[in-house]
């Protein structure tokens, strides 16, 4: 089977010397990370290393005290999460953050929020332009549902789904936004082996079919080494390594960080 080589493009996201602290507690210190187009970048590190904080800085939930984030050529200061969403950054959360009272389909439809234009008066009328818009976006969401193979739970309230499926729906919601940059915060946490395999497959397929750039945090080293193009390692809020999976695996600092604190 001849599979063509993946093309990794230019840097689309550059974090420069990011420092972040909460009331005197340093979460991130001088971190610089580049993310290149089409790549899968994994951020790993022990608990409390600042991985989630890093994602939160990238999509604007936290505003760093120092440093800057350059995305698609624009350097920004404090941007709100909903603004970064408009610029094509989507993410999932470590603890599932679905809208519990809504169906799977509606959850995924919210992913289309920024792309829908009709105002509330049209929506109150529903028929006409609003319905046309709803249907257009429903079609996109149906493709996401098909892609993630969750057809049979389309209209189920998400609260009733098992954990693994909820994670999948959350990915679906992010995908519905057709992001250029997808941030995944421990997408496989708490899954069994089979669910993990499925999730890996989906992540690779997203990267492959849509060319989406992916930054993910993951604990399972096997998974990280298998699917990522590049790995950045954080420890106590500092970046201690950054390179291909093989390089990182061989890095002494990384070995110390992981093995030095062996339990």
């Amino acid at each position: 089977m001849s599979v063509s080589e993946k093309q990794i493009g230019d840097v689309i996201l550059r974090c420069d010397n990011i420092s972040l602290s909460f009331g005197g507690v340093r979460a991130l210190t001088n971190i610089s990370i580049d993310v290149r187009e089409h790549e899968i970048l994994a951020i790993i590190g022990p608990n409390g290393a600042g991985k989630s904080s890093m994602l939160n800085v990238i999509n604007g939930v936290y505003h760093p005290q120092e440093g800057s984030v350059t995305y698609q050529g624009q350097t920004r200061r404090a941007m709100k999460p909903h603004e970064t969403a408009r610029h094509g950054i989507a993410r999932t959360f470590q603890n599932i953050a679905l809208f519990k009272g809504m169906s799977v389909l509606d959850n995924i439809m919210t992913g289309r929020y920024t792309k829908m234009k009709r105002n509330f008066l049209w929506q109150a009328l529903y028929v006409g332009p609003n319905l046309k818009e709803e249907i257009e976006h429903r079609e996109v969401c149906e493709r996401v549902i098909d892609f993630l193979q969750i057809e049979n739970i389309r209209k189920t309230p998400v609260g009733r789904l098992p954990y693994g499926l909820q994670k999948r729906v959350e990915l679906g919601r992010a995908l519905a936004a057709e992001p250029q940059l997808l941030l995944l915060d421990e997408p496989m946490a708490g899954m069994n082996v089979e669910e993990k395999e499925d999730m890996c497959r989906f992540i690779l397929d997203v990267n492959d079919e849509f060319g989406t750039t992916i930054v993910l945090i993951e604990h399972d080293m096997g998974v990280v080494m298998d699917i990522s193009d590049r790995v950045a390692v954080l420890d106590y809020g500092k970046k201690i390594a950054d390179g291909s999976p093989a390089e990182v695996r061989a890095n002494q600092d990384v070995i110390d960080a992981y093995l030095g604190v062996a339990h």
């Binding site: 909460f22 009331g23 989630s52 939160n56 939930v61 959360f93 953050a97």
Partner: protein, 304 residues
């Protein structure tokens, strides 16, 4: 000039002292909120219920002190009952559902209290005059109600007692642990439900004291339950979790309310009357925008 200043101090003192009365009601809220995270809207109805019960027992010919004891018993039973029947089944519901349940509870208690003891207005005489205290008038030259002083005294005793209870007794320590972290408290073997029952009983006690004081001032009637509405701005100002906040908030609200009423009414020639209904709320609201967690509340950092 001096008389103006005297008048100002009179108003201020009056405000501060009635503020203490607000604090008393607010204290009941804080106790329960701190221990169980429930915003007990029915605290006002508990005040009414306590006052009604006390007057009712008195009317049955029971002397003052036994009546007080009996009433205390009833309030504690009621409070524990509420905890068990209403709040425990809702323990894992969102806080807003618990809040709504306490609104239902306040209706229930109002109906129950008045159903048992009747709806007519009763006087409650604690034997303390609501007249300017002569000693103070002589010493400082300002008029301050004896009754207000008395209530302030009661409040101080109550707060002091509660502070002792919570800081020095085992149960009190357990309560503080619970307030900090439910899970951790459970993990170290503190029986949550006992603690909650005790807190509710304490809230019942506070309601009784507030009911007696307010009842003797306003007469024992339905509107007594509305004093709870007075306590809400106090809470917002002081923070939901702080006993000190309840006291300070009460003082601020009481003082500013009275001052505003007197001075704004004066400026507008009486056209803007009866602003005490909403003024504390506006004050609290403005304050909220600056400091959402209240004066003494802790800032919560949301982790995502």
């Amino acid at each position: 000039m001096t008389s103006d200043l005297n008048f100002f101090f009179e108003v201020l003192f009056g405000g501060l002292l009635s503020g203490i009365m607000y604090s008393l009601v607010a204290l009941g809220f804080v106790l329960i909120y701190k221990a169980s995270g429930v915003f007990n809207f029915a605290q006002g109805s508990m005040v009414l219920f306590a006052a009604l019960t006390f007057v009712g027992i008195l009317e049955m010919g029971v002397p003052f002190w036994p009546a007080l004891l009996l009433c205390l018993l009833v309030m504690m039973l009621l409070a524990v009952g509420i905890e068990r029947i209403v709040l425990r089944p809702l323990v894992n519901q969102p806080p807003i559902a618990l809040f709504m349940a306490t609104i239902g509870l306040s209706y229930l208690l109002e109906g129950l209290g008045q159903g048992i003891w009747g709806t007519q207005v009763r006087a409650l005489d604690l034997g303390i005059e609501d007249l300017p205290n002569e000693m103070i008038q002589e010493a400082l030259g300002i008029q301050v109600s004896t009754f207000d002083l008395f209530s302030a005294g009661c409040a101080a005793v109550l707060v002091g007692g509660l502070a002792l209870f919570f800081n020095k007794t085992r149960v009190g320590l357990a309560l503080r642990a619970v307030a900090d972290d439910h899970q951790a408290a459970l993990a170290v073997g503190i029986p949550l439900q006992h603690v909650w029952a005790i807190v509710w009983a304490a809230a019942g006690l506070v309601a009784l004291v507030a009911g007696l004081l307010w009842g003797s001032r306003l007469g024992v009637q339905f509107s007594l339950s509305l004093v709870a509405l007075k306590a809400l701005p106090v809470l917002i100002l002081g923070g939901f979790t702080s006993v000190a906040g309840a006291i300070v908030g009460g003082l601020i609200i009481g003082a500013s309310e009275k001052l505003a009423e007197v001075y704004i009414s004066t400026f507008t020639g009486g056209a803007v009357a009866a602003i005490e209904n909403w003024f504390p709320y506006m004050l609290a609201l403005l304050f909220l925008l600056v400091r959402p967690q209240g004066l003494f509340g802790e800032k919560i950092i949301e982790r995502v």
